[in-house]
């Protein structure tokens, strides 16, 4: 299983970004998952989920106004 996954959740309704992130976290015990979202709300929701599950979270704004949330776990 790849330790580097990308979830493209841009444009998905609440709570699908969280659901897809949770599914991705379930498939790998650690590593890095990049989640692309398009709203602040989704960025917050994905970040909150990841922190609650013990992952480290960083988020950056993309040129198109969306966000890349990178979550990592050793």
């Amino acid at each position: 299983m790849s330790e580097n996954t990308r979830v493209d959740a841009r444009g998905l309704s609440c709570p699908q970004p969280v659901v897809e992130t949770k599914k991705a976290m379930g498939k790998q015990a650690g590593g890095t998952i990049e989640v692309l979202v398009d709203t602040v709300t989704s960025r917050e929701n994905v970040s909150r989920l990841a922190r609650n599950q013990g992952w480290e979270v960083t988020a950056e704004e993309l040129p198109d106004g969306g966000f890349k949330v990178t979550i990592t776990k050793a």
């Binding site: 996954t5 990308r6 979830v7 493209d8 959740a9 841009r10 444009g11 998905l12 309704s13 609440c14 709570p15 699908q16 969280v18 659901v19 897809e20 949770k22 599914k23 991705a24 398009d38 709203t39 602040v40 709300t41 917050e44 909150r48 989920l49 609650n52 198109d64 106004g65």
Partner: protein
């Protein structure tokens, strides 16, 4: 001070703050003239607006409720100020229209949106309990679909003008409320206002609009959502939205006690019926439709203020659903469910189940 307040609203406690404020203000609005246990009800108010626009002719429930315009415009202002105004659309709008329509029909079989279900409970109306249980069951069915890949597809960025359609609609509604044009046939309409019944009962316009703007602002900043609350609690064991609902019920309970509006029991509750089965089933339909669409009706108004055209379509579906609910004798009354309310509820549930099974998408790349 403003940025400190915003940080507080954006924190995990934000939804609880919004819940408490709505919980206090809703009974106060009833005290100031809104119908009993209906200080704020997104479904009932949508139904009243549909009636005022002549989409149904139930003469007792016609009024343009400024609270709902306030929700959209308060959310718009907050979204503009914090750079969260993002016009977007294209996620199965036609399905969202029908989800809105059936969500409204279910809500009018119960007689209230989730917000009103909690308000009714806080005022001692025990008929709210089967409704809230039904709402939770509907949400849980929706969650099962979500876990199994349900999706209405992506929305895409749109032009600013598209995002301003629902705010403009909100302003037009306010103008119609104030101008109240009557150039229809027989000197009545096209805007209708109830002379008796719940539609004739309303708080002063400025206060109602002010509360709407405040709640719209707060809900935009805190993402307050009464359906998301149950969903996140069940799916993710995440309490932060649910705390908003608990704060809402607690604050409304205390405010109703203080204002002498608490009355425990099932019989004789205002704008409510005692049929347990259809209080339950109506909200199963609503809860499922709201979950498939991504939020409670209040949240839909907030998102439409942020430029979400799909939420706007859902709202228009709700208005049409309200028209249908009264024109086709689906809506309940204090006497009980409407003649065809139960069958429409079943049709709605079948529709939602079909959408749930048929709309799937694989997302991870």
């Amino acid at each position: 001070m403003f940025s400190g307040l915003n940080r507080l609203l954006m924190s995990r406690g934000g939804p609880a703050i919004t819940g408490a404020v709505v919980g206090i203000l809703a009974p106060v609005l009833s005290f100031l003239g809104n119908p009993a246990n209906m200080g704020i009800c997104v479904a009932c108010f949508g139904r009243d607006i549909a009636g005022a626009l002549g989409m149904h002719r139930a003469a007792v429930v016609q009024y343009i409720r400024p609270e709902l315009s306030g929700f959209i415009l308060g959310s718009l202002l907050a979204a503009l100020m914090y750079k969260e105004f993002k016009p977007r659309t294209g996620s199965s709008p036609i399905i969202r229209f029908f989800l809105g329509m059936f969500a409204m029909i279910g809500a009018l079989v119960f007689l209230g949106c989730p917000w009103r279900a909690y308000i009714r409970l806080s005022a001692g109306d025990l008929n709210a309990i089967p409704g809230i249980i039904g709402l939770s069951v509907g949400v849980i069915i929706g969650i099962l679909f979500l876990w199994n890949g349900f999706s209405l597809g992506r929305s895409y960025p749109a032009k600013k003008a598209m995002g301003m359609i629902m705010p403009a609609f909100a302003v037009v509604l306010l103008a119609l409320l104030i101008l109240a044009p009557t150039f229809g046939p027989d000197g009545a309409g096209p805007i209708f206002f109830s002379e008796t019944g719940p539609g004739s009962q309303h708080a002063p316009i400025a206060i109602a609009l002010g509360v709407g703007l405040l709640v719209g602002w707060l809900a935009q900043r805190t993402r307050f959502c009464t359906v998301g609350a149950i969903r996140d609690l069940v799916m993710l064991r995440d309490f932060h939205l649910f705390n908003g609902v608990l704060a809402f019920i607690a604050a409304a309970f205390i405010t109703n006690l203080l204002l002498g509006q608490f009355n425990l029991g099932m019989e004789g509750q205002p704008v409510a019926h005692t049929n347990i089965l259809w209080n339950f089933m109506g909200m199963v339909l609503s809860g499922l439709a709201f979950t498939l669409a991504g939020g409670c009706p209040g949240r839909m108004f907030i998102m439409s203020g942020e430029g979400d055209g799909d939420a706007g379509i859902f709202i228009l579906g709700m208005l049409v659903g309200a028209g249908i609910a009264h024109n086709f004798s689906l809506a309940s009354s204090p006497a009980g469910p409407g003649a065809f309310g139960p069958s429409a509820t079943i049709v709605g549930i079948i529709f939602c189940l079909a959408i749930g099974f048929l709309m799937r998408e694989k997302v991870t790349v």
